[in-house]
C-alpha cells in the first residue's frame, strides 16, 4: 500500500455530547476515485471538514502525500493540494465567474487586477470542465450545476492532488450528473485523486474504484467497488438492525384524526400536498434532503408562507398564517436546526422551556419566577434532562439534552400535534433511544407525532405509517405492514433516477 496519497491513522473528533469520529483509519490510493458512504450523522462531513482544515482532529495522525498533514485553516488544505467542493456551495455570488475562479491568486499588473489576463485564464479553465458561460458574468446568475462546475474548475487551476466532493449530485439532474462524471473521469486520468461522498448508491459504481463505509463515526469496511453488491453496501451502512431494538409500541393505538392537510401549495410551482395524522399516531416522513419534507412542514406550521391549502385540527378548519396561529391551534414544530431556530442558547434552561406559554408563569404581565422554576424543574425531571439547575444556560448542554429542552418547551405548551424535523440528528445513540421513548410517551398521551427523518431505519422502527417525499410532492404512503427499506428508498429515489435526460 505504498501508493496511498492520504492516510488516516486512528483519527478521532469529539463534539459536545457526541463522538463524531472514533479511531478512523483509512487509506486513499493515488489516482483513484474513492467513495465515502454512510448514513446522516455517520461522520462523513466531519471527516471532510478535518481534511479541509475546518475542524482540528482531537486524536490521530493524518499523512498526505508522504508528509504529516494537520491543517488548521482551509488555506493549509489548498497549499498542499487538497480542494473541497462543499455540499453548500460557498461562492461569492456578486463577483464574476472569473473572479471566483482565480480569487486566491488574481492576476495582477502593477498591483492592479489584470482583468484581461484573468478572463483569459478563466475561459481556459471553464473550457476544461466543459462549461459554456462567459467568465465575466456574476456567479449568482448561474444554476447550481454550473456553480458546481465552477468549483471544480477552481480546483483545477490550483493543480490539486486531491479533490473532495461532498454530495455533488444532490441537486443535479441525471444529464448534469453524466457530464460531471465525464469530467471527473478526465481528471482521474490526469492523476487527480478523488474522494467522493454521495447518498445515491447506484451512481457510485459509475465513478468509484474503492468504497469506505462509515457508521456512528467508525469505519465499517473499505472494499473495492467492483463485484460489491448494492445490498451488501446497504447492510454495511445500516449495520445493527435498529428494528431489533423493539422501539415500536403495539399498545399505543391510533385514534381519530387530529390533523389533516389538504392541497397545501407552497408556491406557484410546487405540487399540492395532502396528508393526515391521527391521535396517538407516529407518522414518519421520509425523503432525501431537498425533497420538500422540511419546507412542507414549515408551511403547515406557518413558519413559511403558503399560497393554498386547508388545515384541519380535530376536524375543524383552522387558519394558520404564522407560527403564532399554529401554536394556538395546538401545533408545535421541533426544527431541524435546533440551535439556530429552536433554542435561546445564552438564556437559562427554564426560560427556554416557558417561552412557549408565558401566560402560565405570569399574572397580569408580571413573571412569577417561583412558578416558572417549579414548572421547569418538573419537566427537567420528567425528561431526565441532565443539568445541575434549571438556571444553567442551554448553550452548555449536549445535543441530546438540548433536544430534550426543545421537547420540554412544547410539552409545557401542551401541544396536541408535534412535528419534529430530524430530532435525532447529531446526537448519541443512547440519547436517540431516549428521544424515541419520549416520542412514544407523547403518542401514548393521545398526541399526534409527525417524525421527519433522513434515517430510514429509525422511521421503520417506530412509525405507524411513512409518507415519502420526492421533488416536493408525496410519492407514496407506506403502512407499517408494508415497511421495507428498499421499497421506501426506491420511492424516495425514483423521481430523481427516472427523470428523462432533458
Amino acid at each position: 500500500m505504498d501508493n496511498a496519497i492520504l492516510e488516516l491513522k486512528a483519527v478521532s473528533k469529539r463534539f459536545p455530547g457526541v463522538m463524531a469520529l472514533r479511531g478512523v483509519s483509512l487509506e486513499i490510493q493515488r489516482g483513484k476515485a474513492h467513495v465515502l458512504l454512510g448514513e446522516n450523522g455517520a461522520g462523513k462531513s466531519t471527516l471532510i471538514n478535518l481534511l479541509a482544515g475546518i475542524y482540528l482532529a482531537d486524536e490521530g495522525e493524518i499523512v498526505f502525500d508522504d508528509k504529516p498533514y494537520h491543517p488548521r485553516t482551509p488555506l493549509d488544505a489548498y497549499r498542499v493540494g487538497i480542494r473541497v467542493v462543499h455540499q453548500e456551495l460557498s461562492m461569492l455570488s456578486q463577483l464574476t465567474v472569473a473572479e471566483n475562479l482565480l480569487f486566491e491568486n488574481l492576476p495582477q499588473r502593477h498591483g492592479l487586477v489584470n482583468y484581461g489576463e484573468m478572463n483569459r485564464r478563466a475561459a481556459e479553465l471553464l473550457k476544461e470542465v466543459g462549461l459554456d458561460v462567459a467568465p465575466n458574468i456574476p456567479v449568482g446568475r448561474l444554476g447550481v450545476a454550473q456553480m458546481q462546475l465552477v468549483e471544480i474548475a477552481k480546483a483545477l487551476c490550483y493543480d490539486s492532488k486531491l479533490l473532495i466532493l461532498d454530495e455533488p449530485t444532490a441537486t443535479l439532474t441525471s444529464k448534469e450528473v453524466e457530464r460531471l462524471f465525464e469530467i471527473l473521469k478526465k481528471l482521474k486520468s490526469k492523476g487527480v485523486t478523488i474522494l467522493y461522498i454521495s447518498h445515491r448508491l447506484h451512481e457510485v459504481y459509475d465513478i468509484g474504484d474503492n468504497v469506505t463505509v462509515l457508521r456512528d463515526g467508525q469505519v465499517v469496511a473499505t472494499r473495492p467497488l467492483a463485484g460489491l453488491a448494492i445490498g451488501e453496501i446497504v447492510r454495511m451502512m445500516v449495520g445493527r438492525n435498529i428494528e431489533e431494538l423493539r422501539l415500536f409500541r403495539e399498545d399505543v393505538k391510533v385514534g381519530d384524526e387530529l390533523l389533516r392537510v389538504e392541497g397545501l401549495k407552497r408556491n406557484a410551482h410546487s405540487p399540492e400536498v395532502s396528508f393526515t395524522a391521527g391521535r396517538g399516531e407516529i407518522v414518519g416522513v421520509a425523503g432525501l434532503v431537498g425533497s420538500g419534507r422540511t419546507e412542507t412542514m414549515r408551511a403547515v406550521f406557518g413558519a413559511d408562507p403558503k399560497i393554498a391549502g386547508d388545515i384541519f385540527v380535530e376536524g375543524t378548519a383552522v387558519e394558520i398564517s404564522s407560527p403564532r396561529d399554529a401554536v394556538q391551534h395546538g401545533l408545535s414544530l421541533l426544527t431541524e436546526d435546533r440551535k439556530g431556530q429552536g433554542l435561546l442558547l445564552t438564556l437559562p434552561c427554564a426560560e427556554n422551556i416557558t417561552i412557549t406559554d408565558l401566560a402560565k408563569v405570569s399574572r397580569m404581565g408580571l413573571l412569577q419566577r417561583d412558578v416558572e422554576r417549579r414548572s421547569a424543574s418538573a419537566l427537567v425531571e420528567e425528561l431526565h434532562i441532565k443539568t445541575p439547575s434549571v438556571y444553567q444556560l442551554v448553550g452548555n448542554f449536549s445535543g441530546g439534552n438540548q433536544q430534550k429542552v426543545v421537547i420540554a418547551k412544547w410539552l409545557f405548551r401542551g401541544s396536541k400535534i408535534v412535528i419534529c424535523d430530524e430530532p435525532t440528528r447529531g446526537i448519541d445513540v443512547g440519547a436517540k433511544r431516549e428521544i424515541y421513548d419520549l416520542l412514544w410517551q407523547l403518542a401514548a398521551t393521545g398526541r399526534g407525532i409527525i417524525f421527519v427523518s433522513s434515517e430510514l431505519p429509525e422511521l421503520i422502527a417506530i412509525c405507524h405509517r411513512i409518507i415519502v417525499f420526492a421533488k416536493g410532492k408525496i410519492v407514496g404512503v407506506v403502512p407499517r405492514a408494508a415497511f421495507n427499506q428498499h421499497r421506501i428508498l426506491s420511492l424516495a429515489y425514483e423521481e430523481y433516477d427516472l427523470e428523462p435526460a432533458d
Partner: protein, 342 residues
C-alpha cells in the same frame, strides 16, 4: 474513611460552586460597578475639588439626560437594534414642549401638563414610526433611525422657525432648579425614576423576558408562537418615549426649547449602554449597567476637566474608554464561559 470520602467530595463541590458563583457575580454583575467605584475613588484622591458636594451635584445634573436616553436605548439594543434618532427626537420634543408652554392663550395649570404629554407623545410617535418602518420593510434600524435623525431635526427647525424658544413658566423653571435634601436635584430624581421603571419592566415582566429572548434568537421566539414584530416596535416606541422624557429634563435644566438641542446625544447614550455591558448583538445586558455606563462617562469627563485636561483632549480619553470597555467585555465573557464549563 471510605464512607466519609463522598461527603468530603460533595463539600468541596459545593464550596467550589459557591466560589464560582461569587466570581461570576463579581465579574458579570459587579464588574462595571466596580470600575465606576475605582474611578470615583481615583478622582477623589487625585483631582482637586472632585470630592465636594457641589461637584457631585453637578454630576447628578449633567448625568440626567443621558441616563434617561440610555434606559430607552437599552431596550432597543437588547433586541439587537440601534436608535440613532434619539438626539434629534429630543430636539423636536423640546421645541414642541416649549411651544405649548409659551402659548399665551393657555393658563400654566393646563399648558405645563399639556407640554409634558406633548413631549412624551411626540417622542413615542417618532419611536413607533422607527419601529414600524423597520419591521414593515425589514430594514436595518441603523438606516431607518438615521433617516429619523434627519427628519426629526428638520421637523424641529420647521416648527420652531429655526429659533430658540425661551420664556417657560416660572413654576416649571423652579421645579427644574429644585434640589431635594440639598443633594438630589429634581431632574436626577426623574432619571432615577425612569431607570427604576425600565429595570422593573425588563426584569419582572413577560414583555421584558421577550425583549431578551428576541435579542437572543428572534427566529426561535417566532417559532415558539410569538410575534417579535410587535415587541420590536414596542422597544423603539419606548426609546422614543424616553427621548421625549429626556426632552422634559432638558427643558427643566436649560429652560429653552431648541432645534439644535441634543446633537450627538445618541452617541453618548449608545456609549453608556455599551460600557454598561449590553451587547450590540442583543439578548445580553441590563439597564442598571447602562446607568453605571452613563455615570462612568460623566465622572470621567468631570474628573478630566478638574485635572485641567482641556475639552480638546477629553474626547480622546473617552473614546479610548468606550473601546476599552468592549474589549474588556469580550475577555469577561471568555472568562465567564470558562468557569461555566469547568
Amino acid at each position: 474513611m471510605t464512607l466519609s470520602q463522598p461527603t468530603d467530595f460533595a463539600h468541596s463541590e459545593i464550596a467550589s460552586a459557591r466560589w464560582n458563583n461569587l466570581l461570576r457575580f463579581l465579574v458579570r454583575d459587579a464588574g462595571v460597578a466596580l470600575a465606576l467605584v475605582l474611578i470615583i475613588v481615583f478622582f477623589c484622591l487625585t483631582a482637586p475639588y472632585f470630592a465636594t458636594t457641589e461637584n457631585f451635584l453637578k454630576i447628578f445634573v449633567q448625568i440626567a439626560i443621558n441616563t434617561v436616553l440610555a434606559s430607552g436605548m437599552t431596550f432597543v439594543i437588547l433586541t439587537a437594534g440601534i436608535d440613532l434618532s434619539v438626539g434629534s427626537v429630543l430636539a423636536l420634543c423640546t421645541v414642541v414642549g416649549a411651544l405649548i408652554m409659551t402659548n399665551k392663550n393657555l393658563p400654566t395649570g393646563i399648558s405645563v401638563p399639556l407640554a409634558l404629554v406633548g413631549c412624551m407623545g411626540t417622542g413615542a410617535a417618532c419611536g413607533a414610526i422607527n419601529g414600524w418602518v423597520c419591521e414593515q420593510w425589514k430594514l436595518p434600524s441603523f438606516i431607518v433611525t438615521l433617516g429619523m435623525l434627519n427628519v426629526a431635526s428638520g421637523a424641529a427647525r420647521v416648527t420652531s422657525n429655526n429659533s430658540t424658544i425661551a420664556g417657560l413658566p416660572q413654576p416649571f423653571v423652579d421645579f427644574g432648579n429644585m434640589i431635594v435634601g440639598g443633594v438630589l436635584p429634581s431632574i436626577f430624581l426623574i432619571a432615577v425614576g425612569v431607570i427604576l421603571i425600565g429595570w422593573f419592566v425588563l426584569r419582572f415582566t413577560v414583555f421584558g423576558r421577550l425583549i431578551f429572548a428576541i435579542g437572543t434568537n428572534e427566529e426561535a421566539v417566532r417559532l415558539s408562537g410569538h410575534s417579535p414584530r410587535k415587541y420590536k416596535i414596542a422597544a423603539f416606541t419606548i426609546s422614543g418615549l424616553t427621548a421625549g422624557t429626556a426632552a422634559i429634563v432638558y427643558l427643566l435644566r436649560l429652560n429653552i426649547g431648541s432645534p439644535i438641542a441634543g446633537v450627538g446625544y445618541e452617541l453618548n447614550a449608545i456609549a453608556a449602554v455599551i460600557i454598561g455591558g449590553t451587547s450590540l448583538f442583543g439578548g445580553k445586558g441590563s439597564i442598571i449597567g447602562s446607568l453605571i455606563g452613563a455615570c462612568i462617562l460623566q465622572v470621567l469627563s468631570t474628573g478630566l476637566q478638574l485635572f485641567g485636561i482641556g475639552d480638546n483632549f477629553k474626547p480622546i480619553v473617552i473614546g479610548t474608554v468606550i473601546v476599552l470597555a468592549v474589549v474588556l467585555d469580550t475577555y469577561r465573557n471568555r472568562f465567564l464561559s470558562s468557569i461555566e464549563t469547568r
